[in-house]
């Protein structure tokens, strides 16, 4: 693994250049307390003073709404036209939890039927991670096997160091990016970057206000589907679905047609949510998850058990977005702790 150093001034110039050569997606301060990953024209639009974005950056690989193909039924004939492939992109500034979120989505969109839309964006997007510099009250990535300086999955990992930035190329794609813009970097000959990142990691590790122990929780859920505990949670849940929209690992989607003139239209997909009753309701009226209890249970079982059953990966990365945004303060960390307690008394 090769490391490089860049001055603070060069970061801006480099990002300006990247914005010219690629679609550059980076954190932007949309309004007070709202940070979003968006395409930017240059460094001036980027805000680097953030712990994490309001919505996860997964949307640049798996868009909130994505056109799949256009159709025309004019003249009694069917014509299907593919959408234009997106331009190569770079996402700059992904926090480690969100990189892990993308690694969590990867096997869903691969498998027996690789999803061509996801695969195309994934292959054409370079991930530039950025180590965290602080820990918020809702953060719990270390409880889910990650860490604020654990950039695994990124092509390039950036760490703030004294007088500038350290860059580590974690993949050949990251190495190529460094090579292409080598004028901006100098090789790190004294392991400054790795030492700085390790020091930062140790410092931040002590700043988590709440950690949880997931040991045995999945195994308990394997044996216990029916729990009165889910009634408790469901009574509070409003079913608003915000947790699923901001989550970096939720992948559910709907597919819909839009044809304003009845003949020409587009088939798209858009994020959907297991919190909604119509999500599983069949045309004939039968609904296998008829109340909020079944829906809440499905969401938490998906995160803590089903994703591990299918892909051997945790379904939660500990970003804490759902913890801060839930209007009724349903906190997955508390749920994990409660399940530990329920398991002990079972």
């Amino acid at each position: 693994m090769k490391a490089y150093i860049m001055t603070g001034d060069n970061l801006g110039a480099w990002l300006d250049t990247l914005a010219r050569d690629f679609t550059l997606i980076a954190p932007v301060k949309e309004e007070e307390n709202v940070i979003l990953f968006k395409p930017v024209k240059g460094f001036a639009e980027i805000n680097l003073n953030y712990t994490n974005s309001t919505v996860s950056p997964k949307g640049w690989i798996f868009p909130q709404t994505e056109e799949m193909f256009y159709f025309s039924t004019a003249g009694g004939q069917i014509n299907l036209t593919d959408v234009q492939a997106p331009r190569p992109a770079i996402i700059f500034g992904l926090r480690p939890c969100d990189i892990k979120g993308i690694l969590t989505l990867d096997p869903v969109f691969n498998g027996a039927y690789p999803d061509p839309y996801y695969q195309n964006r994934r292959e054409n997007t370079i991930l530039v991670g950025l180590c965290c510099t602080r820990v918020e009250r809702h953060c719990f990535c270390t409880s889910m096997g990650g860490g604020p300086t654990d950039g695994r999955g990124a092509d390039l990992l950036v760490t703030e160091i004294d007088g500038g930035y350290g860059l580590e190329a974690l993949t050949s794609r990251g190495e190529e990016l460094i090579h292409r813009y080598q004028g901006y970097f100098t090789p790190d000959q004294h392991s400054r970057v790795i030492l700085a990142r390790e020091e930062l990691g140790q410092k931040l590790a002590g700043q988590f206000t709440r950690t949880v122990d997931t040991t045995g929780v999945k195994e308990f859920l394997d044996q216990n589907f029916e729990l009165p505990y889910w009634d408790e949670i469901a009574r509070r849940c409003l079913g608003c679905g915000i947790c699923t929209y901001i989550c970096p690992t939720c992948h559910c989607f709907d597919i819909f047609d839009f044809a304003p003139d009845g003949e020409r239209g587009v088939r798209s997909r858009c994020w959907d949510s297991c919190m909604f009753s119509h999500f599983t309701r069949m045309a004939g009226g039968h609904n296998p998850r008829p109340t909020q209890k079944e829906r809440v249970r499905n969401r938490f079982l998906h995160k803590l058990k089903y994703h591990r059953d299918r892909y051997d990966l945790d379904g939660c990365v500990g970003c804490g977005r759902c913890v801060t945004k839930c209007p009724v303060n349903i906190d997955i960390r508390q749920i994990i702790a409660d399940l530990q307690e329920v398991a002990q008394h079972a």
Binding site: M68, F69, F71, T73, G76, Q77, I78, L80, D82, V108, F109, G111, A112, Y113, D115, P116, Y117, F225, H251, C252, F253, D254, I255, F256, D257, A259, G262, E263, G265, R267, R269, D272, C274, F279, T280, R281, M282, A283, G284, H286, P288, R289, E294, N298, L301, H302, K305, Y306, D309, R310
Partner: protein
């Protein structure tokens, strides 16, 4: 295991409706052919698999393929008018264009069933997925591989019996085949059995020996059929059913057809009762 040979599993292939059969007041069967003969040739479904039907501008729905794979050159879907997409399908005519993608899902274990007697138990439109296997087994090239075939089928009324030409005419004439038909309530002009399917099943009381029972119908019928089969001594791995769930993608990504950690679109729709009993009761 991947079934469809397509490059983009989410993009349907254009097809044309070549025949429509009015089965009941709210069920029609649609025979469809892909517009590209190579796509038709390469579409190799197995009995019990499903496909996604598109009415462009309206959307898609998952429908079981009711025709047997032994019938090459066409695909047949029997569709009850219950929602937006199925209502749109019912408005189409011969010559109308649709989209089809698939086949998806697992299939009835027709290899394992070789040498066995088969008992089919269907209710209403639930006969549609069973029919792909019935006609596969009864096809001349396969008939010798299987034992006796019994079919118990019921519907609310005479009008609601699907595939009357099969259950009343064609199947009873096939060698080694017995068809029992029932309707829920007595009706003028009906001389056959009257009563619900599970009760009729108990009355017929088929022996479980060397036999597989395959059932599909409304959830309430399936529930009582499974109870009746258990009472008659059928073991859980002799009983097979096929499930319906709301699906969007059909390829295990859109997240809604899961029962526990199984996706009905990938791991189903066909399940042994022994498998179902290991899943959470969410269907």
């Amino acid at each position: 295991m991947r079934n469809c040979q397509c490059i983009n599993p989410l993009k349907p292939y254009p097809a044309t409706i070549i025949k429509i059969i009015d089965e009941t007041p709210d069920v029609k069967s649609f025979q469809m052919v892909f517009d590209n003969p190579a796509v038709m040739e390469n579409f190799r479904q197995k009995p019990g698999q499903v496909a996604q039907l598109s009415v462009f501008g309206v959307g898609e729905a998952t429908i079981s393929i009711t025709s047997s794979p032994t019938r090459r050159g066409i695909l047949e879907f029997s569709v009850k008018k219950v929602g937006m997409l199925t209502s749109a399908l019912h408005r189409l005519e011969v010559g109308s264009k649709v989209g089809i993608r698939g086949p998806y899902g697992n299939h009835f274990p027709y290899e394992v069933m070789k040498g066995k007697d088969l008992l089919f138990i269907g209710g209403g439109i639930g006969l549609a997925p069973l029919r792909s296997l019935i006609d596969f087994v009864l096809a001349e090239e396969n008939r010798g591989d299987y034992g006796k075939v019994e079919i118990i089928y019921g519907a609310r009324s005479m009008d609601d019996l699907c595939f009357k030409y099969d259950i009343l005419d064609r199947w009873p004439q096939m060698p080694g085949t017995t068809v029992y038909t029932t309707i829920d309530r007595a009706e003028l002009g009906w001389e056959g059995h009257v009563g619900f399917v599970p009760a009729y099943l108990e009355e017929i009381n088929p022996s479980p020996e060397n036999k597989y029972a395959i059932t599909c119908g409304p959830p309430i019928m399936i529930k009582f059929v499974l109870q009746a089969l258990e009472k008659m001594g059928f073991a859980d791995d002799q009983v097979i059913t096929t499930l319906e769930m709301k699906m969007k993608c059909g390829i295990g990504k859109c997240g809604r057809c899961n029962i526990g950690s199984k996706y009905v679109c990938l791991d189903g729709p066909v399940f042994y009762l022994s498998q179902l009993k290991r899943l959470p009761p969410e269907f």
